[in-house]
Symmetry: C2
Subunit: 453 residues, 2 copies
């Protein structure tokens, strides 16, 4: 039996693993060469971890599982009648069973023109892009002479108060307040303003209300300005608008909504408003024989009619279920009972020594929650090497308050200070010190050598 | 006294450090936010280390040295009459003393059109670009059905047999032979062909001849094809030409030559053919009062008329010298004696348990040389964190033969297999297996699921 799995995220990986001892040929196709541990991606965006710490080549994961062939390619279409997946002009993959596990991407609710100014956080490139924007804002604030511009540069808006938004905002305020002080001479990075905007009535809306309240207090104590019940009506290069209010900001991060990847459209399946495929009780796609779908690509319900969340544990449970179902089918055994999501809990970290954890009726907050969060995440990383490196980076950051990967890399967004070298340009010094025009409460005396022309 | 330092490499950093207790105001300007440990950059390019392991924010380095202001900006001109450095339209930096430490970049000997197909290795972006090309070549070889194309994809040419070229070629052959096997199903990565082309008569031309011979034997034993006395006459997307010989290759890395950065042209200083500034015995630039230059930007001689090499230890010695000279001047003390380069030795690693080390009359090779090389490099990294992380990554790679940062990131070069998703495309399966047309000695049986349309 030929099984094709589209997507090397949590769902796809678990499905392939569950087929380890089944008499099937698995082809796992992903457009990236790596599996990414998305729950820690915000730590790459805030310079705490390196991309290599939380990503592993998919091939390495299946090095010893000989019935899996890994292909790095981007699927371009699916013919469900002929049962073949196509990637570009030259590659096609016939299947007896197809698992769609292509995940979700950020949704701008029809305002895709906001994407360039308000990047989301789904890939390594997203994370290093956000990291560059964050760090460049401080660099530019240090050299500007314009007080209003400096305020704008040091204002950061996170749109969306779910786990990603909360974790990002917490990590950003820690970066500014703990990792950077004493390194700048003209600005105080601790003056950075981090605004978290959430349209709903509370942060972490999927958590119990009391934990939302704990998270809100933690964020506010750390210095994050939280605006619940506030809808962003415009994003632009100068900042965001929320109805009549304008928040001047240099850096906006989008953590507000997701939309399913287009795999549902390729097979013309029934989908909900977020593009998620409606699946049957065995996670199969109705009317598309042999096709299954898992993860945040689907709208599934647990045994009690409640929606299954779009997170990593749910994707893994679904992937494992389909893997086992196909293994049973290949071995000629009876199919397992319908998929039932088991909710083990939910957790989010807010910052240093602060996290909220819900484990059924058990609630953990503060230091205990934070330890639980850290150990759980280390446990779920792939392989010994990542566990050691991430543990060490966290220990080192905890003890020194520093960040290990504070690199500005990649192409700069337009409009920066740094311009390509045009050769020799001689300009007379106009003799006005950069610092003279601007008086700043926390400002160091401007060094005489730093002047504006 | 206002000291402006252009460049946060080894020379600029040492100069600023040597001014720690001097009554001066130092402004250190770099277009990057980080100091990069270039000697280990080839390990980023070959997926062994992450960029964050060998780069540190310049500001963090000078966090406690309050007389240093770090500015991330790109210098665009220098007015030596008015004594001011200019960066873009808004920033200018008057100086009493100016240190040029802007380094060198790769030189294509007038054939700059080769740059897109034969990238050099100077920045983090260069390293992740080369890493992407290397890893993508294996991914594409795995899915191609064309035997000639597969051979071309698995051929890698390193141009230049100096330390960078030798270390890169060694690391590439190890990546192919030790880190990747068992992960591919249709190719044997160990069949990859790595060709090292050197125009001169021997590799490591700056080393003693016996060590060049040791390095050559090591490379050949590892499986690198070394072509000395061979000049590359053309680089293109299909490979390189060396006179009449054509070497089909998907990936070319340029490690053949360097040219000084344009700082010498900005101040219209006397320069040699490689653009290096001719400096006086105190590393000052003749006819440009208050201007000094260090590192591989200059052509300097040691006390005996021999040229000072363009490597990290020499840059550090020069930087320290100018820092001390300026400190003496600021304190009203007599100037130090003329700069004298002290050669401590030279070292290059070739691969697992193989390196060549020259320490005056002492020579170390093989395992002992390799240990010496490793310990020396760990010692020179900045900070406890990097030393621990790099040591651990090396230990882990040594024990498992794997690489920790095998990520394909960033924009792909044009012409790849992966194409953007154009929506739903239905294509009939033409039923010919990808593997059928190609017979391959080391090939695994092609899985039936992998077919070509």
């Amino acid at each position: 039996m030929r099984v094709v799995i589209l997507g090397g995220g949590f769902g796809g990986l678990e499905a392939a693993r569950a087929l380890a001892r089944a008499p099937v040929e698995v082809t796992l196709i992903d457009r990236q060469n790596h599996h990414l541990f998305q729950p820690l991606l915000y730590q790459v965006a805030t310079a705490a971890l390196s991309p290599g710490d939380i990503a592993w080549p998919v091939r390495t994961v299946f090095r010893r599982q000989r019935n899996v062939t890994v292909v790095m390619a981007e699927a371009t279409g699916i013919d469900t009648a002929a049962r073949v997946v196509r990637a570009g002009d030259t590659l096609s993959f016939p299947y007896d069973a197809l698992l769609l596990a292509t995940g979700a991407t950020h949704s701008y609710f029809g305002r895709d023109e906001w994407a360039p100014v308000a990047p989301g956080l789904k890939t390594i490139e997203d994370a290093t892009d956000i990291r560059r924007r964050l760090l460049l804002a401080f660099e530019r604030a240090e050299v500007t002479n314009d007080e209003a511009e400096r305020r704008r540069l040091l204002t950061f808006v996170v749109v969306g108060g779910g786990p990603t938004g909360v974790e990002l905002a917490g990590a950003m305020v820690e970066l500014a307040r703990h990792a950077m002080p004493r390194e700048f001479r003209r600005i105080d990075p601790a003056m950075a303003r981090i605004v978290l905007v959430e349209a709903g009535p509370r942060v972490l809306p999927t958590f119990p209300e009391d934990l939302s309240a704990v998270a809100l207090r933690s964020l506010e104590r750390m210095g994050v300005q939280v605006r619940t019940g506030t809808r962003v009506t415009h994003c632009g290069p100068d900042g965001v608008e929320c109805g009549d209010e304008r928040i001047g900001a240099s850096t906006i991060v989008w953590a507000a909504g997701v939309v399913a990847s287009p795999a549902g459209a390729w097979i013309d399946a029934e989908r909900d408003r977020q593009g998620r495929i409606t699946v049957g009780a065995d996670l199969s796609v109705p009317g598309r024989p042999g096709v299954f779908a898992v993860g945040d690509l689907v709208a599934a319900t647990d045994g009690h009619g409640r929606p299954v969340p779009g997170n990593a544990p749910a994707a893994k449970q679904m992937g494992r279920y389909v893997g086992r179902l196909l293994a049973a089918r290949a071995k000629g055994r009876p199919a397992p009972p319908p998929f039932a999501y088991r909710h083990h809990g939910d957790l989010a970290t807010i910052g240093r020594r602060s996290a909220v954890v819900e484990l059924g009726s058990i609630r953990l907050t503060g230091l205990i929650g934070w330890w639980f969060w850290g150990i759980a995440h280390i446990y779920y990383l792939v392989g010994f090497r990542s566990r050691v490196v991430v543990s060490f980076e966290w220990l080192w950051s905890y003890l020194t308050f520093q960040r290990g990967a504070r690199l500005i890399t990649g192409r700069e967004p337009r409009g920066g200070n740094a311009v390509p070298v045009p050769g020799q340009v001689r300009v007379p010094d106009q003799g006005r010190a950069l610092g003279e025009g601007a008086q700043h409460k926390h400002q160091q005396p401007a060094p005489a050598a730093l002047r504006a022309g």
